[in-house]
Amino acid sequence: MKLIQAVIKPFKLDEVKEALVDMGIYGMTVSEVKGFGRQKGHKETYRGTEYTIEFVPKTRLDVAVPDDKVQAVVDAIVRAAKTGTIGDGKVFVMDLQETVRVRTGETGSNAL
């Protein structure tokens, strides 16, 4: 199994989620993060003092999948999350040694 961690633009979450559901992936975990990269933040001015916001709001998606689906899922995420502009994000793939479903205690791919 692999854990796929994707950092994407927040407004792309719905599209990515649907792309995954379409391929039969029904589980994922989402969190709000702040990204720092090529895409620059914005400036804010309050009463004469100017601030640069370097971090851009991003969404992180964690999906655990069996090995045979990794490539397809990564491709699907990339396709759905792409706008072609800077800041589209990254997909990271990590090895997952074990998965347990808390409710049933099932392990391995069955737990996904």
């Binding site: 804010e44 001015t45 309050y46 009463r47 004469g48 003092t49 601030y51 916001i53």
Partner: protein, 469 residues
């Protein structure tokens, strides 16, 4: 330990109860005397030009009765001005603070409302409005509200009860002190601020109010200050400047991201200030007549124009108007119209508001240049706005609206000079006096929280609370 504290609280409280007994016994004496006969009017005769005439003592000594319309007016205005401090100022300042200091900033306004309300009935009112001593301060005859007639007319406003005038002045003292907290927010110790507040109210505000409204030398001079441009705004700003300098800069000033944590709160606070300011300015007519209506109209006009002018200045200069700017501009307009409210017409109010928005907008850049950290811009808004307003009163005062007083543009150049004297005297007296008081407070309790506490935030450090959970 716990028991001991409880006991001591109990004892302290029973002690106060016993001590207080003679106070309200005393209190009873003059009140029991025939209402309508105010013993102190004599000593106040010198303030006759600012005081409305005491109602004529009718034949057959019919008991005095207040005008219900005027009494309603002043009580409602007192409530409105109270609402300026809390929730108005509490929200305006609280929203501008960072999240970790939000509650402490709000707390400051709230606790000052409590503290000065008590100081005023104990001795503040007497020092400010009591029988004059050398044109400098009131004496202590009205301490604990002794000799203030619960059932008689105010010597300062003959159609309303003495207590109504007293409480209307109370809420002015409260907001003046609360305003200062904005300059030292996010780093000053609570204990230090409370000690400062009591000393400052007693030794600076009370005498100053006496100078201008209580029969003192500035009033005698003929300087115009309808609702407190010098007494409230310049004085709080001068103290704020002293405070910002003495307490020092916040860690990370001009470097860290210090954006307001909740701007909706700030804009709502500004709206409530606007709302309450009608009590402040139109209430200062002390009667619900045409002057109150005029003051109401010019107050609204200057606030509106101030908001527009700050927002448009930003638009021109920075490309975008901000909500914080519009709110600040409205407050600046309100500050500037304060000394002029009963004396000028609505077209002059437009100019006063316009000037306030632009000048105060330029003034907020000052602190970065001069290097003092006036956290929430008390000096820029109340100092610059108040000074501009006091000067503008000397320019635009119009006999049609003031019922007499005239400024430079209405043929009385001398007025401008009087205004300048009042402004300069206020800045100097308050700034120097505040420095001295702050030095004393620093020696006794220390002005500033530790660096670590500043970093964690004063909400946790001073109160062990977090604003949001």
């Amino acid at each position: 330990m716990r028991k001991i504290v409880m006991y001591s609280l109990g004892v302290f409280w029973i002690g106060f109860l016993c001590l207080a007994q003679p106070l309200f016994a005393q209190n009873a004496v003059p009140d029991a005397a025939e209402a309508g006969t105010v013993a102190v009017t004599e000593s106040l005769s010198s303030t006759a030009e600012i005081a409305l005439p005491v109602v004529a003592q009718g034949e057959e000594a019919a008991p005095w009765a207040p005008d219900t319309g005027d009494t309603t007016w002043i009580l409602v205005c007192s409530a409105l001005v109270l609402a300026m401090t809390a929730p108005g100022l509490a929200m305006f300042y609280g929203g501008m603070a960072r999240k970790k200091n939000a509650l402490n900033t709000i707390f400051m306004s709230f606790i000052i409302l409590c503290l000065i309300s008590v100081q005023w009935v104990l001795w503040g009112y007497s020092l400010a409005f009591g029988p004059d001593v050398g044109k400098m301060v009131g004496n202590l005859d009205w301490m604990f509200l002794n000799n203030v007639a619960a059932a008689g007319p105010s010597p300062y406003a003959g159609t309303i009860p003495d207590y109504a005038f007293m409480v209307f002045q109370l809420v002015f003292a409260v907001i003046t002190v609360a305003l200062i907290s904005g300059a030292v927010a996010e780093r000053m110790k609570l204990s230090a601020f409370l000690l400062f507040a009591v000393l400052w109210a007693t030794f600076i505000y009370d005498p100053l109010a006496h100078w201008v409204w209580g029969g003192g030398w500035i009033g005698d001079l003929g300087a115009l200050d309808f609702a407190g441009g010098t007494v409230v705004h310049i004085s709080s700003a001068a103290a704020a400047l002293a405070g910002a300098i003495m307490v020092g800069k916040r860690r990370g000033f001009l470097k860290d991201y210090m954006a307001p944590h909740n701007l909706p709160l700030t804009v709502i606070g500004a709206s409530l200030l606007w709302f309450g300011w009608f009590g402040f300015n139109a209430g200062s007519a002390l009667s619900a007549g045409t002057q109150a209506a005029t003051a109401f109209v010019v107050t609204n006009t200057a606030a509106a124009m101030g908001g527009l002018s700050w927002a448009f200045a930003e638009w021109m200069y920075r490309g975008k108007p901000t909500a914080l700017g519009a709110a600040s501009g409205a407050v600046a307009g309100l500050v500037a119209i304060t000394p002029a409210a009963g004396f000028v017409g609505p077209m002059s109010a437009l100019v006063i508001g316009l000037g306030a928005g632009v000048l105060c907008y330029m003034a907020v850049f000052m602190k970065a240049k001069l290097g003092y950290d006036d956290a929430l811009d008390v000096v820029a808004v109340h100092g610059v706005g108040g000074t501009w307003g006091a000067i503008a009163t000397g320019l635009f005062a119009n006999p049609v609206f003031s019922g007499g007083a005239a400024g430079l543009f209405f043929g009385n150049p001398g007025q401008l000079w009087k205004q300048v004297v009042a402004v300069a005297a206020t800045w100097a007296f308050v700034f120097v006096g505040s420095l001295i008081i702050l030095k004393i407070v620093d020696l006794i309790v220390g002005l500033r929280v530790t660096e670590e506490e500043e970093q964690r935030g004063l909400d946790l450090g001073q109160h062990n609370e977090t604003a949001y959970s």
